[in-house]
Symmetry: C2
Subunit: 193 residues, 2 copies
DNA sequence: CGCTAAGTGGAATGCAGAATTCCGGTTACG
DNA sequence: CGTAACCGGAATTCTGCATTCCACTTAGCG
């Protein structure tokens, strides 16, 4: 594969991640091409159909996510701070793009891609471990779980286009509000059941 | 106006509210018609264009909202509980529909409808008063405001289609988490500056 | 009960925007 | 330099929605 082709391919995946975050996985192929600074022809040569592109974005996402989680874990002593750090990182602009894959793909095509599933499962478990530790350390409510965390991450991070503008502008602020609600001291209500 | 026509008109507004909540104000007219159980012809006879329909939905929304707020305020002594009550009410299934109007209309057409603007302003102010009282009573963080509350309501209540399924299924749970994060005791961070 | 104006559904039409193809023109690199 | 690998984007086809129109029903008056 020629060097320039390789470069374009990377640009395309990055662009696709961004565009799909903004407009959903069904975003026009041409929008992706334009954002990547290539022609539609180039896009189609590399990714025969939309699914192929989605798969690429999904892989990219899962990989990046796991890596960030690793770092957050390694950097901090207490679990709660690590969770906080990771969430803040994930909410940063540009990261948003990646989450779309996670949010919308399950219904599409990636689910049955073993490799993707495994990678995703890995970082979810990793985050889950952190949550458990935080709860064991008594710094996090026990009536919320990893899934809640992930869902909320998705809510504030996917489809920025459908979010009220101020929220889209600083999802981190709201995510942190959410985290404050998840702290052990914040619990006011009986656990669900 | 014939009785059956009247019935259909009501069904249409209700359906439009639902559909617009799910798919945005630009939702296909046919989808609205189908949901309402009428033909597109009927829809167009009553509402010559999309705007007319949006206006109807918007009015319906604002009116319902103000009323609910009234009740919540009247029913409870302390402001924080009233806020809680109102938010819970607004998150109930079926209510979601209405919020879209608020979230997307300003850029569209309704803004210049004095009546709508006034009604909206009224209930926002009303909720704002509640928030101020809650803060004065020391039960709510002072680094968040009415706008935050409204934005979050919109996030969890509009476009249920773009929300992760569990969140769409019970937005109230997450909204309450959020409220817990807004309680005075939950503040961990310096107010934004 | 019968009449008719009011009301109805949905097929038909027109169009905007997106998907996908194709190929004459470039460019990396042996 | 030569050429196989790449490009961009015009051209064409496809899809989905808005909007119109009219033959068919029905509420409700006399």
């Amino acid at each position: 594969m020629r060097a320039d082709a390789r470069r374009n391919l990377d640009k395309i995946v990055a662009a696709a991640a961004e565009v799909m975050a903004e407009r959903g996985v069904g975003a026009p192929m041409e929008a992706v091409a334009r954002r990547a600074g290539v022609g539609v022809g180039t896009l189609y040569r590399r990714f025969p159909d939309r699914n192929a592109l989605i798969v690429a974005v999904g892989d990219h996402y899962v990989h990046t996510m796991a890596q960030a989680l690793d770092e957050a874990t390694r950097r901090t002593r207490d679990a709660w701070s690590a969770v906080r750090d990771f969430v803040s990182w994930a909410a940063e602009p540009g990261r948003a793009a990646l989450a779309t894959a996670l949010a919308e793909l399950p219904q599409e095509t990636i689910v049955d891609r073993a490799e993707f599933a495994r990678a995703r499962e890995q970082w979810v478990r990793q985050l889950g471990g952190l949550v458990s530790r935080a709860q064991a350390e008594g710094s996090m409510r026990t009536d919320v779980g990893v899934d809640d965390l992930i869902h909320l991450l998705n809510v504030f991070t996917c489809h920025p286009g459908t979010l009220p503008e101020p929220v889209a502008a600083d999802p981190g602020r709201y995510l942190r509000l959410m985290l404050d609600g998840m702290k052990a001291t914040a619990a006011t209500h009986a656990p669900p059941g």
